[in-house]
Amino acid sequence: MNKDQDLPLRNDIAARFVPKIIILMVYLGTLCSTFTFFMIHSTLLWEEKLTTQLSIEIPFFSDTSSNDLQTQVTDLLQKTPGINKIEVVSKADMETLFHSLLGEDTSVDKFSLPAIVDVSLNKRDTFDVENLETRLKNISPLIQLIDHRLWQSQVSNLLFTSTSLALLLTFLILCSTLVTTFFTTRTSLLIHRKIVEVLSLIGATPSYIAKQFQRNTFKQGLFASSIGAFLAFLTFLGIYFLFEKAGHTFVVTTSFFFEALAIFILTPFITSFFMMLSARRAVMKALCS
């Protein structure tokens, strides 16, 4: 005799379809939360690599004035407060960039390429870009200042929106699961109304009756959500290998892999715990009102 068998909940009509719904919900929810973590992880990784906020283009002149301009610009930058680091893009880096765009055979020497100086700013200080631009134009009106922060913030906003949407979707899926559990428990209470009534009349507290539903829901939830999470894991692996095969880079670092693994393992427990609370709420609300 198990303590949770005062009510014959295992043979419920509801027990036949609820696990299938939970499997689907957890499958979608797990994929969604994995995607959310992937977005957060990728955004952080990308932001970490973003060290250059400004770039300065110094035009190429056939005589030696290009070098003079570069010296004047670097001198000015070194004297300007709020700048963390300046770096002149080397010829080798330029070649790498060009080869990736125009092919390995392209020689950089054929082009009159401008010199590029990458500037990293101190993140804590506010920086007056317009003032720097004016001073650069005083050196040569042909010098160009490119502020990367504009498009960087646009991409950041886009990533933040995508992450938030994925998070919202995960939350909505969890809510749907809990609402389904709540109403299934209410239906189950109606199905077993007579037994619940007898239990109440012999002195069972609403909490005692709720525990019976809780245990059953937890077991059912853990079983169904484990299947859902496992299927999501297989899908994740499928996507990973598909991307790999297609030659696209799918950024899965070791830390993200462990995060994803934690999601797949913890989701069944978290889901069934909340389902259990939902079942308790449904019973207590019905019996204490």
Binding site: D6, V198, L199, S200, L201, G203, T205, P206, L287
Partner: protein, 229 residues
């Protein structure tokens, strides 16, 4: 006067728009008392018991149990009040999916007694009521009399302060009926107030306790009959 554990004042009831079953019913249940509730079929005996075991809210009047007004009491405190009452239902209300021993030990389990102890206690009691060989049987496989005895065992297993029995001898022969009444007497001697509905005249004669007769919608206290030999 000994302690009053139950008090009905001007209680009346009607189901939906039907006729009044009874009205202005007032009586006290003292601690350790023994009463029969008599009356013809449909006189409202079972409804009166239902009101006492908090399974029915009367339309009129007030009901106090163990000093608590049942109309005012918080829903969370109702189970605690019910735990002081043992009920033998007319339809037995045994749970068909549980074995007899699980049914009988249920009131102990809902009070937090561990399964092993509750089984031991239930087993002894079932042995006493003659169901020792039906411990693992399921209620649908039992006869009416066996169900009756299992229901009685479930009602008294917690040694309640108030025992309410709705026609507890309705499905058993006279010998078993007397045996069960003796059990109720034993329980009564240990301080449990007993209230039994019956229309079995032989029982009423053999066990001469005060009778509350429901007639024409109200209750009358009848004199104690002379004990039959």
């Amino acid at each position: 006067m000994s302690e009053v554990i139950g008090e009905l004042l001007g209680v009346g009831h009607q189901y939906d728009e039907g006729p009044e079953i009874f009205k202005g019913v007032s009586f006290y249940i003292e601690k350790g008392s023994f009463h029969f509730i008599t009356g013809q079929s449909g006189s409202g005996k079972s409804s009166l018991l239902k009101i006492l075991y908090l399974g029915l809210k009367p339309k009129w009047g007030s009901v106090k149990l163990f000093g608590e007004d049942t109309f005012q009491i918080k829903p969370t405190l109702l189970p605690l009040l019910r735990q002081k009452i043992g009920v033998v239902f007319q339809e037995f209300n045994l749970l068909d999916h549980l074995t007899v021993i699980d049914n009988v030990s249920l009131p102990l389990r809902v009070r937090g007694v561990d399964i092993k102890r509750s089984y031991k206690h239930a087993g002894e009691l079932l042995e006493w009521v003659g169901l020792g060989d039906c411990l693992k049987a399921y209620p649908p496989s039992l006869s009416g009399g066996q169900k009756q005895r299992a229901a009685i065992a479930r009602a008294i297993i917690t040694r309640p302060q108030l025992l309410l029995a709705d026609e507890p001898t309705g499905n058993v022969d006279d010998e078993m009926a007397s045996k069960l009444l003796c059990l109720f007497e034993e329980l009564n001697k240990s301080g449990t107030a007993v209230l039994i509905t019956t229309h079995n005249q032989r029982i009423l004669k053999k066990f001469p306790y005060p009778q509350l007769a429901l007639r024409e919608g109200t209750v009358f206290q009848l004199p104690v009959e002379k004990k039959a030999s």
